[in-house]
Symmetry: C2
Subunit: 252 residues, 2 copies
């Protein structure tokens, strides 16, 4: 039902005016490459919060760059149990694996209203051929995303509930910080406790109790859709989180 109608907000501007590139979180590209990316971009698109950007079963689908908003990749078991694999933030490339991977697919859903840059999947090969740098960049992005899933697997497999929550808060805060999205010591935080339970591999109730406890201990605060890290040191210690400074990422 939410598959066709255009979204409400204004879409991304031309690449040369890209808000993301100006923010300094991404690597520079040559004028040549920039022109190619602009021409490679088939269209732009806005989709409302909650819509499915990519279906878990159907292959194909487009290739996107998330320009604004939050989304997540997920998998579900046939009885409905859902695991979120990772969150997608502005600048992330979406839908690359659908092209390649064996086995079952994953779905992608928008958390907030999102705007997207759309690329034709069958142009990917031409991109590799004509602009090897960009091909290299795409591999970079794929490897980085795998690194994030690696971290989430360590979290789900080996950390207890409090450690998991602490890890997630640190991780998201740092990523948003890298994107320049910290304002007045807090970041926008549009996900609810069900999302958090689903990425951490916990039940909703247990997630709630754990977060309540951490908040009451003064480690963090979530209010009005924003997140404050009230005691980042303690969160970091609890999560056993190590702050490798995030590098600039490529941006398609």
């Amino acid at each position: 039902m939410d598959t066709l109608q255009p979204g409400p907000a204004p879409g991304p501007p031309p690449c040369t005016a890209c808000r993301l590139r100006k923010a300094g979180a991404f690597t520079a590209v040559s004028a040549d490459e920039m022109a190619f990316i602009e021409s490679f971009r088939a269209s732009t698109l806005n989709r409302p919060a909650g819509s499915t950007l990519m279906h878990e079963q159907k292959p194909g689908g487009k290739l996107f760059t998330l320009y604004a908003g939050w989304a997540f990749r997920y998998k579900t078991l046939s009885d409905g149990r859902r695991q979120i694999l990772n969150f997608l933030l502005p600048g992330d490339l979406i839908g690359l694996q659908q092209e390649f991977s064996d086995g079952a697919m994953h779905g992608i859903e928008a958390v907030t209203d999102v705007s997207l840059c759309v690329f034709p999947r069958d142009g990917l090969w031409e991109l590799f051929r004509r602009y090897p740098n960009l091909g290299y960049d795409i591999t970079w992005l794929a490897a980085r995303e795998e690194g994030m899933v690696d971290d989430n697997l360590l979290t789900a497999g080996r950390r207890n509930a409090a450690e998991r929550v602490a890890m997630l808060l640190m991780h998201l805060y740092r990523r948003l910080e890298r994107l320049g999205l910290v304002q007045d010591g807090s970041v926008e935080f549009p996900i609810n406790q069900q999302h958090i339970a689903d990425i951490l591999g916990l039940s909703l109730v247990h997630t709630n109790k754990t977060m309540r406890r951490l908040q009451q201990l003064g480690l963090h605060e979530i209010r009005n859709g924003r997140l404050w890290l009230r005691n980042p040191k303690a969160l970091q210690r609890l999560a056993d989180y190590y702050d490798a400074p995030l590098r600039r990422a490529p941006l398609l």
Copy 2:
């Protein structure tokens, strides 16, 4: 201590005589590309079971293709809890993420004696430039590995102990089958219960009890380092595993 001495067994042969390519599990390459891969390959290497192929902390490291044997990628928390991220089987490319990903690294350890084809990491860029197909292939491999980690995250996050074991057995059996390594209805199975606990996110004791139960129910049998799936249907149902036929993978 196990960093320098050469291993015992004979290493991989020239690429033109590669045992893996002949097995039919991998995509064909042109004579041109084959020659490049051969020249790109800096050396071959054998390492004994249990040795560390890549350190969890140190960056750098080489790029390998696993030619024979089993290995695994892992991460550990500072108090020693270990999570295996995925198992590496012949044909898998090793060490790609070290080049790219932010954040903490992962380690790689050999389960059995292994033999490896070694590629210089700084030649990767030239590969992308001169042979875009191969660059594309590398992205393919990265995306496929991410898909495997995705599956493992779903397993660790949402399946119970019995389902996790069933999933792992199906998954590994199918991969080995794809490589043509099934003999007399069984496959070599060199990992121990600690490895299994470490990839499934379970304790050793609980893993043992769960596997014992499944074995006694006649679902599988592990004996003398080999694995039989005695009731694949039941395992598949238990794991909620869907058998997307594995495609041919690229091979570097």
